[in-house]
């Protein structure tokens, strides 16, 4: 066995898995950071992204179109949901209400998807130019997974640039720190909240479209991934964008190498990591203790 090749291939496996996890964890942490809402519907929005992606490919024949259209549709759905339902609950300052409403949305989304697309799994083919493998020290590695790593890296970089280098990003960070002050300065805070919620949903949808060729689009596909995403957000620190990147990569590495070397503990490894980090840093790696 070529050890270097094996390690490189497994590391790439972890990075590709981390890329998918990042899309969902990033949206979750952005929404929590600015709105203090734990969005239980995020897994459902990830699933909706996969199904809209499937339909886009079926109608247009283009996987690339689905990468644009699915996040757009799901972003709009998320924006409407925030405006119509969540915005009415801000005055209550009751986190329990958000939990119930987003949990309800998750169930409604799952049932709506079942009614529209049916219970059968739906296959989203990989475009021809992303088919095939590269050999890394005699270990095959799919080109599509390299594409996932590229997409994840690009999304992380763009989001970081958006948050750090643009005026809109500055407003987002300001609202996260002190919404009342930003409002007093004449900024429409509710529009910022709606925009961030829609952006978070769109990122989850993008993750869903990118996952579909690996998993098919199927009912329940958001359930497992949302648990992983919550663990990532806790590890990285609630509301920390950089924390979500580090958390996604860490969790993916633990899952990949953990299931290889400690098969019987595969499920527990991620939670052991979370517990270890919380013991050392109760607010997560880059989060603040509140």
């Amino acid at each position: 066995m070529n050890v270097a090749g094996f390690l490189a291939a497994q590391s790439l496996n972890a990075l590709s898995q981390g890329a998918i996890l990042f899309f969902i964890a990033c949206g979750l942490t952005l929404i929590f950071g600015i709105m203090r809402i734990i969005n239980f519907a995020h897994g459902g929005l990830f699933m909706l992204g996969a199904y809209v992606g499937y339909s886009t490919v079926a109608w247009t024949g283009s996987f690339w179109a689905s990468l644009l259209f699915a996040p757009l549709v799901v972003g709009v759905v998320g924006g409407i949901f925030e405006k119509v339902l969540l915005a009415r609950l801000y005055a209550r300052q009751d986190s329990g209400a958000y939990l119930m409403v987003t949990f309800g949305l998750a169930i409604i989304l799952a049932e709506t998807i079942r009614l529209i697309w049916g219970p059968q799994p739906l296959s989203v083919p990989i475009p021809d130019r992303l088919r095939g493998i590269v050999l890394i020290g005699n270990q095959p590695f799919p080109i599509y997974r390299l594409f996932l790593i590229g997409m994840g890296s690009a999304a992380a970089l763009l989001t970081w640039q958006f948050l750090e280098r643009t005026r809109a990003g500055l407003l987002v960070r300001a609202v996260a720190q002190n919404a009342e002050m930003v409002h007093a300065l004449g900024t429409d805070v509710s529009a910022v909240r709606t925009g961030v919620f829609a952006l978070g949903c769109a990122m989850a949808a993008l993750g869903g479209v990118l996952s579909a060729p690996l998993l098919t689009a199927f009912l329940g596909m958001g359930t497992n991934v949302i648990i992983d995403a919550f663990v990532i957000v806790i590890i990285g620190g609630m509301g920390s964008f950089l924390g979500s990147i580090i958390g996604s990569v860490l969790v993916a590495f633990v899952q990949v190498f953990g299931s290889y070397y400690f098969e019987d503990l595969a499920l527990a490894m991620m939670y052991l990591l979370m517990l270890a980090i919380l013991i050392v840093r109760p607010g997560g790696m880059l989060g603040k203790e509140e």
């Binding site: 898995q17 359930t223 190498f257 290889y260 098969e263």
Partner: protein, 410 residues
């Protein structure tokens, strides 16, 4: 006087006795006429939402078709009514929903349970509920062993050991010598891999490793690496539903089949449809193949195609068979009471969509034939279909009584 009184009393007694006897003789008929209007309720606690929802949807569509095919004629002159409940594949929910069916709906015939752990959870309750449960798809071999079997449970379907046995017999003459097994880490996956290990060793081949993946696992990259590194020429797979589809999609992306041959315990039409042309060449045992050419199966397949415009999957075939057997037992018992159905079901033999089936008395396992299928392109259907390449007789495929093992190696 005394005599006269005695005579009068006797007459009165006689009249009373005659009335009572007439009423007694007539009442079953009267009761039956009254009962004819009431449907026979069959409870279907199945997976409507969640990871195995596809299997549950197949159960329900077959029940609806059967209801339509039976029409008003029904069984014992009574129409059939199916009551569906969502268990989400969760054992605790399955117990709760089954109990609701029994206590609230007075429905004591249960079928359509998808997951083996759900079956294990409700089986100990059957006697208390006075309910009868027939399995159409629960594969865990242990369900019909001394440890778990209960009198009111019967399994009509091919179990995991039977699927593994079928493949192992087929692989006896295959060029591959070394195998690795990959199974889902729950009752059915463990049962299937355990049986395959025993059977493949019995035919003189090697199992170099066995790997279990957590339930609900979605990323198989690590496991695919393990399979490649094992040096095995063949891989036995005990995955189904979403897990099987995720694995096959990812295995195709890693071009795994260029390095080792995949053999699966269950070849499902839903998977074939999802993979399209990529499914061609897939080899495995089949619990039910719609291509099996017997009159009962032709009748079912034609009705199914007419109703749903697609071919039946393995769950459809197994569910149809389970209901067929249940109805035959009800007719034989002339009752839907569990205590009368059990003896009627024991040693019951029917010609089903899978050929001749015998419901064994000793462990309530249905003796099924073993089918090996290979997926091939079809000019008749819009998707590839499973072509039967070998059929093994039921005596060779069904394990020893109350066991998951086989005395003979085949």
């Amino acid at each position: 006087m005394k005599e006269s009184t005695q005579t009068r009393l006797s007459r009165r007694t006689l009249v009373r006795a005659a009335s009572a006897a007439t009423a007694m003789l007539a009442s079953p008929k009267l009761l039956r006429i009254a009962a004819a209007a009431t449907p026979i309720k069959i409870g279907i606690p199945t997976v409507i939402t969640g990871g195995y929802a596809v299997l549950g949807s197949h159960v329900m569509r077959t029940c609806k078709l059967v209801e339509k095919m039976m029409g008003a004629k029904g069984v014992l002159g009574r129409p059939i009514e199916f009551l569906y409940r969502d268990t989400q594949g969760n054992a605790a929910d399955c117990v709760r929903k089954s109990q609701e069916l029994v206590e609230r709906d007075d429905c004591r015939l249960i079928a359509g349970v998808v997951v083996s752990s759900e079956a294990r959870a409700i089986m100990p309750k059957l006697a208390e509920w006075k309910a009868f449960f027939i399995s159409h798809g629960c594969g865990d071999g242990l369900l019909t062993t001394k440890e778990f079997l209960v009198p009111n449970f019967f399994r009509a379907n091919t179990s995991a050991p039977m699927g593994a046995r079928t493949l192992a017999l087929y692989l006896k003459d295959a060029p591959e010598q070394n195998f690795i097994a990959l199974g889902s880490d729950y009752a059915w996956g463990r049962s299937s891999v355990g049986a395959f290990e025993e059977q493949i060793k019995a035919v003189g081949k090697n199992l170099v490793d066995k790997v279990f993946t957590p339930v609900g696992n979605k990323d198989y990259s690590t496991y695919i690496t393990k399979l490649i590194q094992s040096g095995a020429q063949g891989c036995y797979l005990a995955l189904q539903g979403d897990e099987a589809r995720s694995f096959f999609l990812q295995a195709t992306q890693y071009e795994l089949t260029k390095r080792l041959q995949l053999f699966t315990e269950i070849v499902a039409q839903a998977d074939i449809r999802t993979f399209g042309k990529d499914a061609i060449g897939m080899l495995g045992s089949s619990r039910y193949a719609f291509t099996y050419d017997v009159p009962e199966n032709k009748k079912f397949t034609q009705a199914f195609l007419a109703e749903y415009k697609e071919v039946p999957d393995w769950t459809d075939g197994e569910m149809y068979q389970a209901l067929h057997i249940l109805f035959a037992a009800i007719e034989k018992a002339d009752s839907i009471e569990a205590d009368k159905l059990v003896p009627a079901m024991e040693n019951l033999e029917v010609s089903s969509v899978k050929g001749p089936i015998l419901m064994r008395q000793c462990d309530h396992q249905g003796e099924n034939q073993g089918f090996v299928v290979k997926v091939a392109a079809s000019s008749k259907y819009p998707e590839p279909i499973p072509e039967i390449v070998k059929i093994y007789p039921r005596e060779m495929i069904t394990p020893d009584c109350l066991s998951t093992s086989y005395k003979t190696t085949g």
